[in-house]
């Protein structure tokens, strides 16, 4: 796919700059947004308050009393040009394994409470619907397709620590599912949902419009910072993280749940270098390479 030649710049009031790489989602657009964010972070300009890379865009918060808005814009434009001209586009990141109990009773029960008036297909479950709109035989096939490829954290946000993930597979094979017609007022914490082309982990209990697929026993937001993976910070995911979902059954879910409660659970993860060109050229082969890192971890 081809990106617009130049990003679209727009001010969000006197404290925010929006940089839209492309209106549509793609791995390439996400890569450019992330690389600009990393470059801007490295410059450590006085007056930058926050740099928020998103799926296909970037939002920068600045203090206009310290940093002239014109200077900020030209700095980001220069970074954009540099990123686009770079010959090797790669990202130092990690691959992290997330256990999922697909088709679990918690999300199923919640789903049952929000059918008529909320859901496109009130009869059946979210998983049945997700399978049907993707032309798949049944929920099992959808689950298989969901965990057989890795996913890239393309944005963190909405509420504390919530990741949006983009499937690392060619567009024609990406799972895509409409969101609820009207959002639920309840979602169990640590629900794994899918809406549009994105998977999301609900970090906290609350409203939500994504179709619910399952639940994970492993926290992604730990304000008490009691688990080892949260020693440095209360939020697990960073944009650029690569996630491999691993289906677990109830017995294993309970085991991991107990480890989390005991404060001993550690995510299985390994450092990897993600190279955009290789990922685009041979998606299947490259995914296997990425996931091998986990096997030796």
């Amino acid at each position: 796919m081809t990106l617009p030649e130049k990003a679209r710049y727009s001010w969000g009031g006197d404290e925010f700059l929006l940089v839209e790489i492309a209106p549509d989602m793609s791995l390439e657009a996400n890569f450019v947004a992330n690389s600009i964010a990393t470059g801007l972070e490295a410059q450590a300009l006085d007056g930058i308050v926050d740099i928020c890379p998103a799926n296909a865009s970037l939002l920068v918060r600045f203090n206009p009393d310290v940093l002239d808005h014109g200077v900020l814009k030209s700095t980001v434009e220069q970074l954009e040009a540099d990123v686009r001209q770079a010959t090797v586009q790669e990202l130092q990141t990690r691959v992290i394994e997330v256990p999922v109990w697909y088709n679990d009773p918690y999300t199923t029960e919640t789903g049952e409470r929000f059918r008529k008036g909320y859901h496109q297909q009130p009869e059946g479950t979210d998983l049945d619907y997700a399978a049907a709109v993707n032309g798949l035989a049944n929920a099992e096939e959808f689950i298989q397709r969901h965990h057989e490829t890795p996913w890239l954290v393309s944005m963190v946000g909405f509420v504390a620590g919530l990741p949006f993930l983009f499937q690392l597979t060619p567009r024609e094979r990406q799972l895509e599912v409409p969101k609820y017609l009207s959002p639920r007022t309840d979602t169990p914490p640590l629900t794994i949902g899918i809406g549009g082309c994105f998977t999301a982990h609900y970090s906290v209990r609350g409203a939500g419009g994504y179709q619910m697929l399952g639940i994970t026993p492993t926290p992604i937001y730990d304000p008490t910072q009691s688990l080892p993976d949260f020693e440095d910070f209360m939020v697990l995911f960073r944009t650029g993280d690569i996630v491999k979902y691993r289906p677990v059954d109830e017995a294993e879910y309970r085991e991991i749940e107990a480890e989390v409660a005991a404060g001993t659970y550690k995510y299985k993860q390994a450092p990897v270098t993600f190279t955009l060109a290789e990922a685009l050229e041979d998606p299947d082969g490259y995914n296997s390479t990425l996931l091998e890192a986990l096997n030796v971890a």
Partner: protein, 321 residues
């Protein structure tokens, strides 16, 4: 010293200037919704601008102090009472150990602020004492205050209080039922129809009861988005975008119907297109509105926004002088 919460009021939280630098993780800035009013309260009791206050909503708490101290109440007009006797709002109030502070009925606006000498001294979380209830951090144990809570109070200025013991009329904020809010158009306004832009910037909008620290929803003639082919990943509705970061103060219009102004506890991103952003100088106005308030969104340029920002800072400098 400490303050004991006897009754909590409707939604009372500890707030300060806010938590900055964690928006990229979905953690909002928080902070008092009407920063100017909170600053006035802090000034009256000899605090710094960084001290934490109590932000109250519609119905106030009742509070008992365990030591002699001074407090001040600013923001929305309300009867302030000490041991049942009405005292002055926007003025320094001297309390003796055992005194009880309580409130009458709100006469306008929605948010009012209580400062105590020394500030509410709950532990900082990520550099701020502001409460983020969804994320369970900041404030008193990560939540709004409840009956029986005992809030720690820092060391105050003692007898070294500022001369300003009552806020002069001309420095008090207005709580009008009609407000003009300055906005910078942009973000995704190219997706609005001509009618959408015209309605948004020229018509009157009424604040609905769906208004809190996360966002405020307005009723009006609607502002339709263009019915175009949607980009991949955005979603089917013309008001959908590929999920992106939300500027604080940005105004989304889901389905082209009711504009929602995102405020200090808003979600940090999502999939609804925004027509523009409230300028920083006017964000406090949303902490002063009550449902039913008529609002006009007035487009301004970056230069005008920066001039308004400088004007607001000059006003704050007067408060702190």
């Amino acid at each position: 010293m400490s303050l004991e919460i006897l009754t909590p009021g409707l939604a009372t939280t500890v707030q300060d200037r806010g938590r900055f630098g964690y928006y990229r993780f979905g953690i909002p800035q928080g902070g008092a919704m009407d920063q100017y009013s909170a600053a006035l309260a802090n000034r009256l009791v000899g605090n710094t601008a960084d001290d934490a206050v109590l932000e109250c909503t519609y119905m106030g708490p009742s509070i008992k102090t365990d030591a002699d101290t001074v407090v001040a109440v600013t923001g929305a007009p309300i009867d302030v009472k000490v041991n049942g006797e009405v005292v002055e709002q926007y003025s320094r109030i001297t309390l003796s150990a055992g005194d009880e502070l309580s409130f009458g009925v709100l006469k306008g606006g929605s948010k009012f602020f209580i400062a105590v000498a020394g500030g509410i001294d709950v532990p900082e979380a990520l550099g701020s004492r502001s409460t983020y209830p969804i994320g369970k951090i900041g404030g008193f144990e990560g939540r709004g205050v409840q009956a029986g809570d005992v809030l720690p109070v820092g060391a105050g200025a003692g007898s070294n209080l500022p001369q300003l013991d009552t806020v002069p009329e001309e420095l008090r904020p207005e709580f009008s039922r009609e407000m003009r809010v300055r906005v910078m158009m942009g973000l995704y306004d190219h997706k609005l129809t001509e009618e959408g832009i015209k309605n948004f910037t020229e018509e009157e909008w009424t604040l609905t009861p769906v208004a809190d620290r996360m966002g405020l929803r307005f009723d009006g003639p609607g502002a339709p988005w263009k019915d175009e082919e949607q980009p991949f990943g955005a979603g089917q509705d013309p008001s959908n975008i590929t999920d992106a970061g939300y500027a604080v103060g940005s105004i989304q219009i889901p389905g082209g119907k009711q504009p929602i102004v995102l405020h200090c506890d808003a979600v940090s991103g999502g999939g609804y297109a925004q027509a523009g952003t409230v300028i920083s100088a006017d964000m406090d106005l949303f902490g002063r509105m009550a449902p039913g308030t008529k609002v006009r969104f007035v487009p301004v340029t970056m230069e005008e926004a920066l001039a308004a920002r400088a004007e607001r800072q000059a006003l704050l400098a007067r408060v702190w002088s």
